[in-house]
Structure formats: structure tokens, C-alpha cells
Symmetry: C2
Subunit: 148 residues, 2 copies
DNA sequence: CACTTAATCTATAAGTTTTATAGATTAGAT
DNA sequence: ATCTAATCTATAAAACTTATAGATTAAGTG
């Protein structure tokens, strides 16, 4: 399960992806539209900015905007910034590798083989899914007809 | 990331899978072999028993054993018992479905489309991976030679 | 029946992470 | 100067994780 924070982040990024190239968006506007506690959202957006995903402008006419194109913002990038490791365990993490303190011998850990497979399946989806895909999903939705 | 508890559970189950059909195994034996705090492990095994994965026997000659064959114990089954939902969000969970309190309209949530895809990729791996696969990985390991 | 073994149950708690809230401060625009 | 909106600092309730301790129950053994 991803954290609420990560879900908030993705929803906020969806809004910013929609307005990509159309100038800055206010925190308060995003917060209202997506029902995110404003102060909490502030911290999230700041985090995304400090990690190169967003760009901000203070003062009147200011706000937040994407620094890179929606197609460039993968889920894995966002999740790593907000939630940390994507891998099911540190011992198979590519960006947050760490030894498992309960593991006797990492080389021969049979669990690790399986965890690696799981990690790769995850990354296949998360590396290739971007904000652009959320937008596509948004537009693809057609209200079900009563015909059936 | 899975919890330590889940990792402990999988490691304990690996031991029990090895001894499948060979009588009960003591909690203390598993705890020592896998370096798991004994009291903590007790709770984990009990949980697995109450959910039909394990079977226990009190008193002398007692211990824990698998109730079903290693090939029948999938990762998804274990993880749902120990860590709960496997899905990245409750709104796309098959076993723990719940509405997201911050979501205006679930039907049109664009994030949900992507989360569903992610969930399915996860399940493809976790439903088909069982304790038997851990054992296979265990036996498949061959120490690297110095030749290279 | 008394004794030993080993799982089971109940209670407690330290530690960490998550999910926020409040208020002061800084940078930019007019 | 003044208004605006992001930024920084501090705080904290709530939930979850990771345990530990001790009493109890069930089963087998002599």
C-alpha cells in the first residue's frame, strides 16, 4: 500500500500535468480540487520541488508547476521521493539498498531470489507509467450508458 | 516494502516447507535457525494457524507444521494474512476493498486505472509464487567458482 | 496423578512512521 | 509600502510496528 502522502502527491501532480505549460498553479487550488489538507500538501510539493520534479514561484502570480514534461515523470520517480524504496525489501532495492539485519548470508538467501522477481515486476509497471498515462486515463473515461 | 513480520513469516514457512510431511517443528528451533525473536514468531505462527496455513500440536513432541502443501501456499496468501492488502490502495484491493475518503468519484478516478494495472502486475507474481519456489531457489544455488 | 513440554493467551510498551496543524518568515509583484 | 504566496520551524496526535513478560492451557510420559 502506498501512503496517503504518495496518493496526494500523485493527485497533485495530475493537476499540474493538466496545466503543464500554462503557468503556475496555487497550492490552495490543488488542495481544494483534490481535497488534500493544504499544509500537508505544502510539504509534499516542496519535497517534489527539492527533488527536481517541480518548480515554484513565490509572490503574486506564483505557485507550482512541473519542471519536466508529464511523460518524463514516472510513478517510480514520484514514489521513491515520497515513500522511499519501491522494492519489497532493502536487500533487493536498487536505490535504497541495505543489508537485512536478520539475514545470515545474503548470497544464499532463497527469499531474495523471489523478492527480486517481485521487485522487477513492480518496476516494469512503475518505470513505464507516467503522469501522461493518468491524463490519458482521465480522458478515456466514458460514462456507462443505460442501454445494457 | 513488506514488514519484518512478513519476512519472518516467509522465512519460518520456508523452514516448515522443508520439513513438510516430517512431523512438527518447534517454534524455538525456527526462531534460532532464522534469527527471529521467539515471542514475536509465536504470534506470527499463531496467525498463520488461525488462517488455515499451519497446524499446531501442544505438549511434548508438538510444534508447528504446514496444513497444506508448499505448492499451495502462495506469497499472496501469506502476505494478506500478515500485512493485509497487497494492492497499492484500498480502492483497488480485491480482498480488503474500501473507499478512499479523499476521493470524490471512484468511477472516474484516473489514478485508479493506473493503480489497478499496478495491482495486477503484483498479483501475477505473488499468486503464482509459492513456498515451493523458495525451496527451488534454495537448492538451485551453487557457490561461484574461482575459475572466473 | 504428578511432571514436563510446548503452544496459547493476555497485557504492556518502546520505537517509529504517518498524518497532520500552527505560526513565523522570506521572496516576489505591483 | 503592501499584498501575495511559497517557505521554514516547531509541535503533536494517532496509528502501526516490533517487540517482551508472565500466566495459562493442552498434550504426552512415567
Amino acid at each position: 500500500m502506498i501512503s496517503k502522502k504518495a496518493k496526494y502527491a500523485l493527485k497533485a501532480l495530475k493537476v499540474l500535468a493538466e496545466k503543464y505549460g500554462k503557468g503556475p498553479v496555487l497550492i490552495s487550488e490543488i488542495a481544494e480540487r483534490e481535497r488534500i489538507p493544504k499544509k500537508f500538501l505544502e510539504a509534499i510539493l516542496l519535497d517534489l520541488r527539492n527533488n527536481g520534479v517541480l518548480q515554484s514561484q513565490k509572490g503574486k502570480g506564483g505557485g507550482y508547476m512541473l519542471r519536466i514534461a508529464p511523460e518524463e515523470v514516472s510513478f517510480s520517480k514520484v514514489l521513491r521521493i515520497i515513500d522511499g524504496p519501491i522494492a519489497p525489501a532493502l536487500c533487493v532495492s536498487m536505490f535504497f539498498y541495505g543489508r537485512c539485519d536478520d539475514c545470515k548470508d545474503e548470497e544464499t538467501c532463497s527469499l531474495r531470489t523471489v523478492l527480486t522477481k517481485w521487485r522487477d515486476a513492480n518496476l516494469t509497471v512503475l518505470d513505464t507509467t507516467t503522469l501522461a498515462d493518468i491524463l490519458k486515463a482521465e480522458n478515456a473515461y466514458v460514462a456507462p450508458s443505460d442501454a445494457a
